[in-house]
Structure formats: C-alpha cells, structure tokens
Amino acid sequence: MGLFLQQHRFAALLSTAFHVVLAVALTVGLNPSGGRRAALPIEQMALEATVVDESLIQRELERLEQLDQAEVLRQQQAERQAREQAEAARRQLEEEQQRLEAARQERNEEARQEQLRLSELQRQRDEAERARIEEEARLERLRQEEEQRLAREREAEAERQRQEAAAARQRAEMEAELQLALALEDERRQAEEAGLLDEYIRLIENRIQQNWISPVSSHVGLECVVNVTQIPSGDVVDVRVGRCNGDEAVVRSIEAAVLRSSPLPRPPISSLFERNLEVVFNPEG
C-alpha cells in the first residue's frame, strides 16, 4: 500500500484534498428544518403572542363588555397565566429539543465523516489492489506469449530438420533406383543389340497366334488391343480388351487366345521380362 501511495503521490494528494473539502462542506452546509426554528428570537415570538393577545383581548373585552367584566378580567388573567406557563414550557421543550437535535446532528456528522473517511480508505485500498492484479496479469500474459513464441520457433526448426532429412532420404532412394534402372537399361540395351528382345517378342507372338481361333467375322482391317499383365513365371494375371472394332465373337476370341497362351514364354534373359504387354490383333489378308 505504501509503495502504491508513493507511486501515485499526486493522485493521493488530490484525493485527500477533495475529501477534506467534501467533509467541510458537509459539516458547514446542509442543516435540515429543525435548526431554523431554533434560531428565531424570543422577541419576535412575544410580539406575535402579544399581537395575538391584543386582538383576542380586544375581542374578549368587547365580548366581556357585553358580559360580566370581572369575570372577564379573571378569566383573562387565568388565561394569561396559563398561556404564559404553556409558553414557557413550550419554550423549554423547544430548547431541549434543539439541544438534543444539535447534539444528535453533531454525533451524526461525526459518524458520517468517520464513515466517509473509512470508506475512502477502503476504496483506495481496493483500487490499489485492482491495479496490482491487472499489472500481474499483464506481466503473466507477456510471459506466456514469449514462451509460446519460443516453443513455435523450436518446433519449426525441428520440422525443417525432419523434412530435410526426408528429402535427403528420398533423393538417396531415387538415386538408388536410377542407378538400378540405368543398370537394367544398360543390360537391356545390350540384350536388344543382341536381338534378344526381338526374339522374346516373337516367342510371345507365335504362342498367341497358334492359340487364336479367329472367328468368321474377323476381317482385314480388324484392329483390337488386349492389355495383358503377367508375372515373371509367365502366368497371365490380368487380361483386358481395350479398343476394338470387332464384334462380340472377335472380342471373345482374342481374350481366349491370350488366356490359352498362359503361361507365356519366358524371355531369354530375365532382365527383358516385361510385366505389361500390349497385344494388338491386326490380321492381314
């Protein structure tokens, strides 16, 4: 709290001044209706009373003149005495009341000031507390943001490293495959030069040709493609007729020709093996 006041010196000062002014104003200022009555001087009252008595007396005199004057005077006296007594009593009562009232107000005023002071202190304490909490929260937030930022950066870094590693692996694999393909390519090229690929193709062609029962509807100009998948043993594992300008009998016959030829002949050297074949049926006249 002290630190707080120190840090907010000007504000504290202003606040206190304001409260002092307020207290003074409250003490000096507001005073309800009871006090005003007590301030009226006696004389005025007596005057009033006299004025009233005179008129009454006049009236009374007039009245009594009509009646018994002695009675009237006696009555007048008695009434006057009574009135005066009442008046005195009343006055005393009023004074007492005023006194009590003043004392009460004084007490109230003190209490009120005390209350004000206390609540003012409380308020100041609350405000200081609030400010402190806010500040702490703000600092906490900043700390957390900082932490997160750091965490993200770390993770991005880790990811980058992973990807680089994967790329490196990929490159290595492709490299290896390329090497293998190139090696196969070399071998194959040599084999081709030796005419072995041709021989392989002829072997397959002869086998399928022998097995093709060509239907009557097969004609010159017929062109049908069968896509064949084989495994290294030569067994045909998939036969699919592609584009074909022949009728149903032709389609069935070329499918049968390929299936009947399974297992297909093995190539002279195994690197020539080809998984996918495109078999084109194209009878010449």
């Binding site: 492709m174 009557v216 149903e248």
Partner: protein
C-alpha cells in the same frame, strides 16, 4: 528463409520424379506384340448331356443333343464328341475347369431336365467360359413334352447370342417347294418346316406348278402362286387352319406375291394390261389395286424395303435384267440399283435394309451376290452354277438359297460374310424356292 527452403525442397522432389519417370518409362512401360493371323476354325465347346430327374429311363427329349446340332450347324462352333467327355457334370459345383482346359474347349454347357409332374418339365442350364473359369449365363425354364424341342432351340438361341452378339434363328421356320415324280405325274408341294428341317408340314399340293411362297410378317400366312386350273393365281393361306383366299386371278400373269412389312398389302406381278408384265400393289382389305410400273419391259419380282416406303424389283428395260427401286406410290420414277454384270435379278432385302441379295451372273454361272443399294457394289457369295431364290434369315446373318447338286435341286445356306457354307439335307425329288420365316412373335 523458411519459405525458400521449402520451395527448393519441393522442387528437388519434383525434378527427381520427372527424371525418374522418364527413364523408367522408357525402360518399363509396355511391350508391344502384334498378332497377324490366327487359325480359322469353329470355336471348340462342350455341351454335356443334360441329367434327367424323373420317371422313365431317360428324358423325353435330348436337349443337349439338339443344342449341339444347332450350334454345330451354324458353322461357328465345334461341339465336342460325347465319347471324348471324361466327366459329365450337371451341377456348377461339379465343374472342374482345369479338366476342360486340358481337352481344349473354350466354352462349356451343362444342364438338367427335371420332371415336376407328368408332362411338365423344368430345364436348367449354365454356360461357362472355361478359360476364365466363370459362368457367363444361367437360365431356368418350364415346359411341356411337346414344347421341349422348341424350348431347346430357345436355349441354343440364348447361347449363340451370348457368344456372338448375334440373335439366333434356331427357332425359326422355312417354307419351300418340292417337285417329285409320282407315277405318271409330277407332284408339286409347298412345305413348311423348322429351320433345321424337322416338323415338315405340307401346306399345299398340286399336279400343276406351285411357286413363289412369301411369309406374312406375323408368320401366320403364306402367299403363293398356283397353276391349278391351267392358269396362274395368287393365294393367301392361313397356316394353322389351311383356309385360303384367292386374291388375284386376273387375265394373264398373277405372280411373285410379297407381303408388305405391315402385312396389309401385297406387291405382285400382273400382265392384265395387254400382256405388259408390270408391278402392282394390292390392298388385301380394300382390294384396291395400284399400278407401280408402266413399261413395255418385264417388271417383276418386287420386294419391299423394310421401311415399307419403296420397292426393289427386276426389270429388263435396259436390255437385260437389272435391279431397280421405285417409291411405293403411283407415278413415281424407278431408279436403277445394279450396274455390275449383265444379269441381276430376284432381289431380296436384308432385315436392316443395308444390303440386297440377288441372283447375279458371274462368268456364265448364276450365283448369289450381295449388293449395296446405295453404291451398287457387288460381292459374290455362293459358288454354284445355277444358284437362285436367295432369302435372308431374320437376323440378317445368313442367306438360304436353292442350288443344284448332281442334277438335283437342293437347298444351301451361306453366311453374309461368305465364309460359312452349308448344305441343307434335302428330301427326295427337287427342292427349291426356300423362304425364311420372320422371328416368331410369341
């Protein structure tokens, strides 16, 4: 810095990928194999005798035997000899495809005939692709004793269409004329039989010539020419009842009747106008007669195009017989269709309307030829010396015609590609003028 690393990493990957694919595809990819010829022979298949479940030792009809005969007769299939069958399965679960591969059949038919109650049978069959080891077709039908033959032909039709894509004609009929010496007389008969020659029925008989039968499109009637009474007349006869109407007996020729595609009219040849041989159209309901050609030349042998809009006919207005086409209404002009060779006559139109079958003179021989009506291009199909009267099967794949064998008139058939030739078992005497029925309507 981050973005740049990422971009270069992706780039490297793509680049390697492309290079890899290029190399691998030239090395891998597909091997191209070219097949230049095959062996032309009928497709081998096995039709196993159907099993029999019923009273009596055997089924009332040999269903598998008829299917075998049908498919073999078509010239496209070679049914396996029964004696070579090692096993005779009748249930799919009993079929071992490997066994059938060994005996080199491509397709297998098995089946069962079951007697449900006397004279009511259930026939079940399956058609298998032996090389693929798969069922292609399976079917069940119920029938009676008298219908077993007809339903066996239906099964043949189903199998045939499944394997060739062409509708089968095993359940159709043919009509033809026979001539035989009986005693001192020649007897002419008009016969209707199944396409395989079975169930032959005599429709008309005469000691005078009978000619030119023509089926109504519903297959219920035949129009024909008869010379009974020493003059030619055209009759229309209802097959089921035998009742007939004489629809034309005008002075001179009454000949070459052909039903229109809607069955309501006949086109025919008359010479009532001073002996001029011309083509007329007769409405069978109203009896209205409309003249379609008016020429001093012989105009005859008219036939309808399948759309019923025009007529093809023979005319020698150019000096010798050629084929012409005229719209089927009076006053229309005829256009010449054949230009190859000096003799083209007796046109018949394929069911699709894209070809004519004609009698064409080829180096001194009369042969059946196919003509494209739009271009006039002609292709000779048969190879006899005097072939005549061609008629298309309703699936358009076959032509039946009359020819001579050792001086006797017999019937033969040829596939429209000219590859399959068959001679049909002939009866005693001369057989001629065959005409193929439409598909049965039932």
């Amino acid at each position: 810095m981050r973005m740049e690393i990422y971009r270069s990493w992706v780039g490297a990957r793509v680049l390697t990928g492309i290079i890899g694919v290029l190399i691998l595809s030239s090395a891998v990819g597909q091997l191209r194999v070219e097949i230049r010829r095959g062996v032309e022979r009928p497709v081998p298949m096995a039709i196993v005798p159907f099993s029999w479940e019923g009273s009596g030792v055997e089924a009332p009809f040999d269903v598998a035997g008829l299917i075998s005969a049908d498919l073999g007769q078509s010239g496209r299939f070679q049914p396996m000899d029964l004696r070579d069958m090692v096993s005779r399965p009748s249930l799919p679960e009993d079929v071992s495809f490997q066994d059938w591969r060994i005996v080199e059949v491509d397709y297998l038919v098995i089946g069962r005939v079951i007697e449900d109650v006397p004279d009511r049978y259930t026939v079940i069959f399956q058609l298998f692709n032996v090389l693929r080891g798969e069922e292609i077709l399976g079917f069940r039908l119920t029938t009676t004793g008298t219908e077993l033959r007809r339903d066996s032909h239906r099964i043949s039709d189903m199998i045939f269409e499944s394997l060739t894509g062409i509708r089968g004609v095993f359940g159709t009929r043919i009509a033809y004329v026979t001539e035989r010496q009986e005693g001192t007389e020649q007897q002419f008969r008009l016969i209707v039989s199944d396409a395989d020659g079975a169930n032959a029925l005599e429709v008309a008989r005469s000691s005078e010539p009978l000619m030119s039968p023509s089926w109504s499109p519903d297959g219920r009637k035949l129009a024909y020419v008869s010379f009974e009474g020493a003059q030619s007349s055209v009759y229309v006869q209802t097959l089921r009842t035998g009742a007939r109407d004489r629809v034309s007996a005008r002075a001179g020729i009454n000949g070459a009747p052909v039903f229109s595609p809607d069955g309501r009219k006949l086109v025919l040849t008359l010479s009532r106008d001073q002996g001029n041989v011309d083509i007329y159209m007769l409405d069978l309901t109203t009896q209205v007669l409309i003249r379609l050609t008016r020429h001093l030349a012989i105009d005859t042998e008219a036939v309808w195009a399948p759309d019923g809009e025009s007529i093809f006919f023979t005319s020698d207005r150019a000096g010798g017989p050629q084929i012409y086409n005229v719209p089927a209404r009076p006053g229309a002009r005829a256009q010449r269709v054949t230009f190859e060779g000096s003799y083209n006559a007796r046109p018949r139109v394929s069911p699709s309307g894209d070809r004519l079958a004609v009698v064409h003179e080829d180096r001194g021989n009369y042969r059946i030829a196919l003509v494209d009506p739009d271009t006039g291009l002609t292709q000779v199909l048969s190879d006899g010396r005097s072939d005549e009267s061609p008629s298309f099967a309703p699936n358009g794949a076959l032509i039946i015609y009359a020819t001579q064998e050792n001086g006797r008139g017999v019937l033969a058939s040829v596939s429209v590609d000219g590859r399959i030739h068959r001679q049909i078992a002939s009866v005693a005497g001369q057989v001629r003028e065959p005409v193929w029925s439409p598909f049965p309507r039932s």
